[in-house]
């Protein structure tokens, strides 16, 4: 796990736990997410079709797949926003959706863009989220201010979230996911639109969370980021897991035992060549 070590970004959080501690933390626990034979149907088509994955506690887990593979639907089922057609979900040892309330208390979610409240300022939104998780007003206000400063959103206090850029929206969503110190982070494209400095900060924070024994479940189309951060990776296609394991395990499946995550991804998902009749392209 030594290859996961990153130098702390200027002004960012330092990585304090050793890789051994990290490995011990997540190998000794029950799975943070345990999904078995999960199915979800929309209009007669399975968006998720017999998905089975197990994410160890403390793991930095990359959940990859092409567009429409069922990643967001899976996250929606993990937080109880969508009901599975069949199969079982266990989050932090609790069955979902039966124990949705208890599970949600321990989850930090960076959702897709539509979940933010556009007519609140960043501070107001963070305070609102903190209070939803039962933090007192004083603590909510204090942590909101600290997170805004950390993500460099404190410069324009009166700016509404609706006026934020895409990267700023992701940063405030990240702040909201952190504010109640959750045990499990569900991150749906958290780095989308975030500048290099912000992305670096977010990565450092997530790595630190994983080293503390918290679990990060990440979807991203930026495979280099996943390759750099994640302990384990699952690639899904058409609602099914097509390959899962550590990067070393995935590489071992390739013919020469090497190759980048992008090459593995393209191979298992299947790249479409440009048809010959599109020569004008």
């Amino acid at each position: 796990m030594d290859d996961l070590h990153l130098e702390p970004a200027p002004g960012g959080s330092a990585v304090s736990l050793s890789a051994e501690q990290h490995a011990k933390a997540y190998s000794s626990s029950t799975p943070a997410i345990d999904i078995h034979d999960l199915r979800k149907e929309y209009n007669g088509v399975f968006a998720v079709d017999g998905l089975t994955i197990s994410v160890p506690a403390g793991c930095f887990f990359g959940f990859l797949g092409p567009n429409g593979a069922g990643k967001t639907t899976t996250i929606r089922m993990l937080v109880g926003l969508a009901q599975p057609a069949s199969g079982t979900i266990s989050v932090l040892g609790l069955p979902m959706p039966e124990k949705a309330y208890e599970v949600r208390k321990q989850i930090g979610l960076v959702p897709d863009d539509s979940m933010l409240f556009d007519h609140l300022t960043g501070a107001e939104y963070l305070q609102f989220v903190a209070r939803m998780y039962g933090l007192t007003r004083a603590v909510a206000k204090e942590r909101a201010a600290e997170l805004l400063a950390l993500f460099e959103l404190d410069g324009e206090a009166r700016k509404l979230i609706g006026e934020y850029s895409k990267g700023m929206r992701k940063r405030v969503a990240m702040g909201a996911a952190l504010i109640h110190r959750p045990k499990l982070f569900l991150m749906d494209e958290p780095f989308e639109g975030v500048d290099a400095v912000g992305a670096r900060l977010m990565k450092d924070i997530l790595l630190e969370q994983a080293r503390r024994g918290n679990t990060v479940f990440l979807t991203s189309h930026v495979l280099e980021v996943v390759e750099r951060l994640c302990d384990r990776v699952a690639i899904i296609n058409r609602g099914k897991v097509v390959v899962e394991g550590t990067l070393e395990e995935l590489r071992a499946q390739s013919q020469d035992g090497s190759g980048s995550l992008e090459e593995i991804f393209v191979r298992v998902v299947g790249a479409k060549p440009i048809p010959a009749n599109l020569e004008w392209l």
Binding site: Y42, G68, G80, L81, L120
Partner: protein, 539 residues
């Protein structure tokens, strides 16, 4: 629970505070309209309270349950007829947090107060009237306050049931027809002999023992029997159970697909043969060159595929025809309305569809708005294409209205229909000119999947009001000319002139609107990018 309720309400308060200063003129206008509207109901409540003191106890016992029944019908049906869902929680945004369903239920129940505050005002007036009545003793009228939670619970159950039905494809359209049928009932009762004939049955139903309105009225009028107390409690519990059941069902919704998503899910098998929508879109665009053809084709296809537009257009074509029928041709039918039936119905239809077709043309496909500025087709072509599509749909609506008017009992002659069409043309052109200005000045994002409407913004309403005045002058002149000369040809001559004037007004207004649209593109895109808040502000 209390902390979370406070936090949700606090966030909504901040939302309103953040939002209102940005639309100060609209906010002031809306506040004034609300003040007048609710002021009238407050006056009505005071009148009710004062008037009730002069009614004998005998008559109170006879008619008070009827009043309670009327109030219940108004409370429960009026929001459905006006398609206004009031404020409600944005559950898809709140369900990711650890909030107990009880908390959400309590907040949602409180928000039901926003659907019909008029009913609460009138009920308070009635309680006051009973308390001050010389024949009443004790505080029994205060028990009528229980009618508020009963109606709130019932209203929540009705709303959740309606929303659930509206999410079902096909059933949505059937439901709309049902609503149209119900909505014509008050007009039918007022304008035909049906009202008189049904009155004894209404009173009989109102005084039916065991009914909630009768039992709550009995409680309020004093000295109720144990049966009345038990029946009132039973209705309260039943309403609570129904609302909890419906609300629990809505919590189990898949929010990824909720709201009647019209877009097919990944991999949904779709026929390769062109359907009705594609054929219609191709037909309309066939008369135009590109890029207009492409824009019109896209616009017609996307509008017809969105539930909200289908419901609105269905209402414009059929609801408007039905709602004016008893008023025009009933027992007290107005001859002016009957002879100008096409014009009235068509104008009303345009008002229904206007939000989408005319005065907020970018709100519906807001995600495409950025493309309009970067595509080589240009903003001018986009606006003209959208106007052409509006003309197409208003044309179809006119065809339906004219066809309906031809089968009416006292149908107008060709001249009356031609006059109606000409007036509709004048109204449409004025609306279009005002609508283009409103669309670029005050664009607002609209959810295409949301069947229940949200009201037009305050500034847009101000522009609409101004355009009413503007168009009333030339149309009024045509009627004045006919009245003064007694000749139809003069009426048509003035109307022809009006049409030309309206066309010129539309043409002249295009340039500044387009210039504003291009100049203010940043503001327009920004406004159209806005999303929702913890509580959805309905109308």
């Amino acid at each position: 629970m209390r902390e979370q309720i406070e936090a949700i309400l606090w966030a909504q308060f901040r939302t309103i505070r953040n939002y209102l200063p940005r639309t100060s003129l609209g906010a002031i206008l809306l506040a004034l309209i609300s003040l007048v509207w609710y002021g009238l109901f407050c006056l009505g409540a005071v009148g009710l309270a004062k008037g009730m003191q002069y009614v004998s106890m005998y008559h109170l016992r006879l008619y008070f349950p009827a009043g309670m029944l009327g109030l219940l019908l108004f409370w429960q049906i009026f929001p459905i007829l006006t398609m206004s869902s009031g404020w409600s929680l944005e559950l898809n945004k709140l369900l990711v947090y650890p909030i107990h369903s009880n908390t959400l239920f309590v907040v949602e129940l409180m928000l039901r107060l926003t659907t019909s505050p008029e009913s609460v005002i009138l009920l308070v007036g009635a309680i006051w009237g009973l308390l001050a009545h010389p024949g009443m003793h004790g505080w029994w009228p205060l028990l009528l306050l229980l009618y508020i939670p009963f109606n709130l619970l019932l209203s929540l159950a009705v709303r959740e049931s309606m929303m659930s039905l509206f999410r079902k494809k096909r059933l949505r359209e059937v439901l709309m027809l049902l609503i149209v049928s119900i909505s014509v009932v008050p007009s039918l009762l007022a304008n035909t002999s049906l009202g008189e004939r049904l009155r004894p049955y209404y009173l009989y139903a109102a005084n039916g023992p065991g009914t909630p309105w009768h039992e709550f009225a009995s409680l309020a009028l004093g000295r109720p029997g144990w049966l009345s107390v038990a029946a009132a409690m039973f209705w309260l519990v039943l309403a609570w159970w129904l609302s909890r059941r419906q609300f629990a069902a809505s919590l189990l919704l898949d929010f990824g697909q909720a709201g009647g998503d019209s877009s097919p899910a990944r991999g949904t098998a779709r026929s390769t043969k062109p359907g009705f929508v594609e054929l219609l879109a191709n037909f309309v665009s066939g008369f135009l060159p590109d890029p207009y053809a492409a824009l019109v084709e896209k616009e017609v296809s996307s509008l017809l595929r969105t539930p909200r537009f289908r419901v609105l257009f269905g209402m414009a074509c059929f609801f408007s025809v039905v709602i004016f029928f008893p008023m025009a041709f009933g027992r007290h039918g107005a001859s002016f309305l009957a002879s100008n039936y096409v014009a009235f119905v068509n104008t009303y239809g345009m008002l229904i569809c206007g939000e989408v077709l005319i005065w907020n043309v970018f709100g519906f496909d807001r995600r495409a708005a950025q493309l309009y500025y970067v595509a080589p087709a240009g903003f001018k072509q986009v606006l003209l294409a959208k106007n052409a599509v509006a003309a197409f749909f208003v044309g179809i609506q006119t065809l339906v209205v004219v066809s309906a008017s031809l089968i009416m009992p006292r149908r107008g002659d060709v001249a009356a229909i031609a006059g109606g069409i000409a007036i509709s043309g004048v109204v449409f052109l004025f609306f279009l000119a005002a609508g283009n200005y409103a669309s670029v000045s005050f664009p607002r994002p609209v959810q295409p999947n949301q069947t229940f409407r949200r009201q037009a913004g305050g500034k847009t309403q101000l522009i609409l009001f101004a355009s009413y005045i503007l168009m009333a002058v030339p149309i009024g002149l045509a009627f004045l000319a006919r009245w003064a000369t007694g000749k139809d040809w003069v009426f048509f001559a003035v109307l022809t002139f009006d049409l030309l004037a309206a066309a010129c007004f539309y043409y002249v207004s295009l340039e500044p609107v387009m210039a504003m649209g291009i100049r203010d593109r940043e503001r327009i895109i920004d406004a159209l990018s806005k999303g929702a808040d913890p509580i959805g502000l309905g109308s």
